[in-house]
């Protein structure tokens, strides 16, 4: 084949109309799929205000405790922590509550995926709160680590567990009222623990065991909620 013929053939090839597969490729390239990380960032943006508000409040409280340094203020913090849970956890169910569930379920990222990312974000946020609280209290007060964990984690985890149980069972606005009730109950636990001589005499090991149990139930509740969100997207209402 001469150069001239080759050039002619190439010219013909390039003047061809774009094929369907070519168009599909361009369209696919333009609609590049979002990755899980990007979806997480997007959800963080929408959950961000709540989380940032709670984080800020928590930092202020921790700095106050670090300054005043009384054991009583530690129990006050312990009572306030569950409110951070209340401010964030109801966001897990917001698709259903606001009627966006069907839109999200019919998108590329299913409702299940969106709920999973929300849970992951709130899980990370909880971990930060617990670690930060433990570090500050441990550095201010001369008490054992287990006692600090019991004081910081137990009411927090109890509230998460209680709220998840409520959210998994009630899918409308009532779950907010339910979560408020659970939060109120968990907020008074530290107060009761501090006052009650009997509870104070229970060994820290036992309280630690209760905490582990609560953690297990919380994980089970998360898994069940996640699974049910799939069946919810398959069998709406």
């Amino acid at each position: 084949m001469t150069d001239r013929e080759l050039k002619k053939q190439l010219k013909n090839v390039y003047s061809l109309e774009e094929s369907d597969s070519g168009k599909a490729f361009v369209r696919k390239h333009e609609q590049r799929g979002m990755r899980l990380g990007e979806i997480m960032l997007l959800e963080t943006k929408y959950l961000g205000l709540r989380s940032a508000g709670c984080g800020l409040a928590l930092c202020l409280m921790l700095s106050l405790i670090a300054k005043t340094g009384t054991v009583h203020s530690m129990w006050v913090l312990s009572s306030i922590l569950p409110i951070c849970v209340l401010a964030c956890i109801t966001a897990i169910d917001k698709s259903e509550r606001h009627g966006m569930g069907e839109f999200e379920a019919a998108s590329r990222f299913s409702l299940r995926m969106i709920i999973a990312t929300r849970m992951m974000i709130l899980g990370i946020f909880s971990l930060v709160i617990i670690v930060l609280g433990t570090v500050v209290i441990k550095s201010v007060f001369d008490i054992g680590l287990l006692q600090v964990l019991n004081c910081i984690c137990l009411p927090y985890l109890l509230n998460i567990m209680g709220c998840l149980i409520v959210i998994r069972r009630w899918h409308a606005r009532e779950n907010i009222y339910g979560c408020c009730g659970v939060t109120f109950a968990t907020c008074i636990i530290p107060y009761l623990v501090e006052r009650s001589e009997y509870i104070s005499s229970v060994s820290q090991g036992w309280i630690g065991a209760v905490m582990v149990l609560v953690l297990i139930v919380t994980i089970v509740e998360c898994i069940l909620y996640f699974r049910e969100s799939e069946s919810l997207s398959w069998n709406l209402y």
Binding site: R32, Y46, F109
Partner: protein
């Protein structure tokens, strides 16, 4: 481009919502008519992949409803829906564009285009909780076509629209039907009589009529009433 429904049925505990629905659909507007409770919404949800059929299957160009490519190809407007109250119209469209996997730059361009098409350009920056019912409906329509879908499913899309918007919307649907399969469910005959290429009628979960509009040979409203009285 072909949507195939193979003998699909959906039963709940004490009720069969959809019974043995079959059909092959190509590009154009398909009007799905039926009274309230006829099973239209259940059928639409099965086509979208939101509900798994008890029997049968739905495929679009050979893809099943659980495949990502299938989800990429659909645009859906549900019958009952809501919005996150803190979203503005533009925020909502951008959020949906992200969930549909659109690139950010392309999404922004497409959102502005669609806000103009549905006549919400001036209020795009306002919170959705301040929108009227018709405005919310138009925003829902905009999100349904955001990803340039090949299969558009609209469940009672004209509910809440004023007559002028209804006409505007019908024109938009007719335009979309040139290059995609548009399934439009309604119980209002006038919504589909001028734009539908094919009509399906549903009653008690069954398809009682499936045919082209040209073949009906009489006023669609009269035919619809006649058909429902017959069965």
């Amino acid at each position: 481009m072909e949507l195939v429904l193979e003998n699909i049925s959906k039963g709940y505990k004490d009720k069969i919502a959809v019974q043995n629905v079959s059909g092959t659909f190509e590009s154009g507007v398909i009007g799905l008519l039926g009274a309230n409770g006829a099973g239209k919404t259940t059928l639409m949800r099965m086509i979208c992949g939101l509900i798994r059929p008890t029997e049968g299957k739905v495929t679009f160009d050979g893809m099943g409803t659980s495949q990502e490519m299938y989800r990429d190809a659909i645009g859906y407007l549900p019958q009952d829906f809501g919005y996150y109250p803190n979203f503005t119209g533009r925020d909502f469209l951008m959020y949906m564009a992200a969930l549909k996997g659109l690139d950010k730059r392309a999404a922004r361009r497409r959102c502005e285009e669609l806000l103009k098409v549905v006549n919400l350009e001036d209020v795009a920056g306002k919170k959705i909780k301040n929108y009227s019912g018709g405005m919310k409906q138009r925003l829902g329509i905009a999100q349904a076509v955001l990803n340039d879908p090949k299969l558009i499913i609209l469940d009672e899309p004209t509910a809440g629209l004023d007559p002028k918007e209804r006409v505007r919307f019908r024109n938009l649907i007719a335009e979309l039907g040139k290059d995609a399969i548009v399934i439009l469910s309604t119980h209002i005959v006038s919504d589909v009589e001028h734009i539908a290429d094919r009509i399906l009628m549903m009653k008690e979960g069954k398809i009682i009529f499936d045919g082209r509009l040209d073949n009906i040979g009489m006023d669609l409203e009269d035919f619809y009433l006649k058909k429902f009285e017959e069965d």
